[in-house]
């Protein structure tokens, strides 16, 4: 069927000013009654293309200005509000200094035009496996603070994604903020993206690694992969294999091979084959670890 994709379907529009009001609306909602959005860069396109069920009403979250913040504290870590744009994360000097992989991931997302509207929270809530913010958040140990009318719960980012385009969020829940642990001495992080074009492209493979290295030994490592499985994933076996080992190329190569084995890319993907993605996970993990080893 040919979809006339330039025209929007019909819906009503609400822009509440208080977070509690949105949670109240969602609490007593029925399927397809509401759809919330922040930047709208994914939602508007999905609506035009009829990729999702058209809701009766779209709820614009941008009225809740208190959710637009980047808050850094050396002892408690980083908090990113649900309405904070990708551009603000990409440009934050504190994120650049203490969580560089996240700033690098943010800069890889689409174009300046999209970064100015899209939010980091929206990027993870859309839960695309190739989302550029996901591997850095996995590697940096992020947690997602979610809320419904009755309270809040905190979910580790590795437990947040439940399938392609799916998260563990309940229909009555919203993400309130994303938190990252405080920076650790002698640690650094890097995100590398492999894609056919330099910009405006989805990752074939995205790899972020956070590592704490002291006296040429890997004390602690976290690896996040994008586009390597149905959801963004960690590679616990590769991380464990590296801990306590000397920073030498044999150990890095062995860990990269393990990480490749932990990937489970789709067999039939038109963007890149499964075998190729396995190989590229190995190449990129090795490359990122080598870069961190300095």
């Amino acid at each position: 069927m040919v979809v006339f994709y330039r025209r929007m379907p019909r819906f009503e529009y609400l822009k509440p000013q208080r977070f509690e009001d949105v949670l109240e609306l969602l609490q007593n909602s029925t399927p397809n009654r509401y759809r919330v959005f922040a930047g709208g860069t994914d939602l508007m396109d999905q609506l035009k293309q009829r990729k999702i069920n058209v809701p009766e009403t779209v709820i614009d979250l941008k009225g809740i200005t208190e959710l637009d913040f980047i808050n850094f504290d050396k002892s408690s870590g980083l908090r990113i509000g649900a309405l904070t744009t990708v551009a603000d994360v990409a440009k934050s000097p504190e994120i650049e200094e203490h969580y560089p992989a996240l700033a690098q991931g943010a800069r890889e997302i689409a174009s300046i035009q999209i970064q100015n509207r899209a939010t980091i929270t929206g990027n993870i809530c859309n839960a695309v496996s190739s989302a550029d913010s996901a591997p850095p958040l996995l590697a940096l140990g992020a947690e997602v603070v979610c809320a419904n009318r009755n309270g809040e719960r905190t979910i580790k980012i590795e437990d947040f994604f439940s399938g392609p385009g799916q998260t563990v969020l309940n229909p009555n829940e919203l993400v309130k903020e994303i938190t990252l642990p405080p920076p650790v001495d002698n640690s650094d992080s890097v995100y590398l993206k492999l894609a056919p074009r330099g910009r405006m492209d989805l990752a074939w493979i995205g790899v972020a690694v956070w590592a704490q290295i002291s006296e040429r030994i890997f004390n602690n490592v976290r690896i996040g992969l994008g586009a390597a499985a149905p959801t963004p994933i960690r590679t616990p076996n590769a991380e464990e294999a590296l801990c306590g080992l000397d920073v030498v190329s044999e150990n890095i190569e062995a860990a990269a091979a393990i990480a490749s084995g932990e990937a489970s890319p789709r067999e039939n993907s038109f963007r890149a084959g499964s075998e190729y993605r396995h190989m590229m996970v190995e190449v990129l993990v090795k490359r990122v670890l080598t870069q961190l080893a300095g």
Binding site: Y5, R6, M8, P9, R10, F11, E12, Y13, K15, G40, T41, M44, D45, K48, V58, D60, K62, A87, A110, S111, I112, Q113, I114, N116, R117, G198, R199, M200
Partner: protein, 160 residues
């Protein structure tokens, strides 16, 4: 769908207009207010032909509902001219032939303005990065990059 009354400042001029909630900023500007410099290209946020500057930020008007922009200032390419005089960026695109069919040009010009406002003397790499969200399907990129460089040169020491 009940229409919503919104207020905008478009190219310095106040506008009050009632619009259905599902109307995009692109269609409101182009079809209701007749700013035809705002173009509909891909309509998916890929190509940049619908670029406008919304409260100082470069955005794709095709992915924004007009009601979202209520109370905001919008600059389209029409707002860049000063009376009968083209903006130095527009003049540079004319002088350097920075277009073939011209469909992408208005978006390219707004992306260039967004770049030069922050970085008056960009390198070729910085120009490519700043224009990455604007597609020229004639693939006339070399002339476009030269136009941006010429604009930067002609604007040296002046206010944009």
């Amino acid at each position: 769908m009940e229409k919503i009354t919104c207020n905008f400042v478009v190219n310095g001029q106040a506008e009050e207009i009632s619009i259905p909630p599902n109307r995009t900023l692109l269609h409101m500007l182009r079809e209701d207010l007749m700013f035809h410099g705002v173009r509909e290209g891909c309509s998916h946020g890929e190509c940049g032909s619908c670029n406008v500057i919304l409260d100082g930020k470069l955005v794709n008007a095709c992915l924004i509902l007009a009601v979202e922009a209520d109370g905001m200032e919008i600059l389209t390419v029409e707002g860049m001219v000063d009376g009968d005089n083209l903006h130095p960026i527009q003049q540079a695109f004319v002088d350097e032939s920075g277009m073939q069919c011209g469909a992408c040009t208005t978006g390219m010009i707004l992306s260039t303005k967004n770049l030069l406002d922050a970085n008056p003397d960009p390198s070729r790499e910085e120009i490519k990065d700043a224009l990455a969200g604007n597609f020229c399907r004639c693939t006339g990129y070399a002339k476009i990059f030269e136009s941006v460089e010429a604009a930067a040169e002609s604007m040296k020491g002046t206010q944009s």
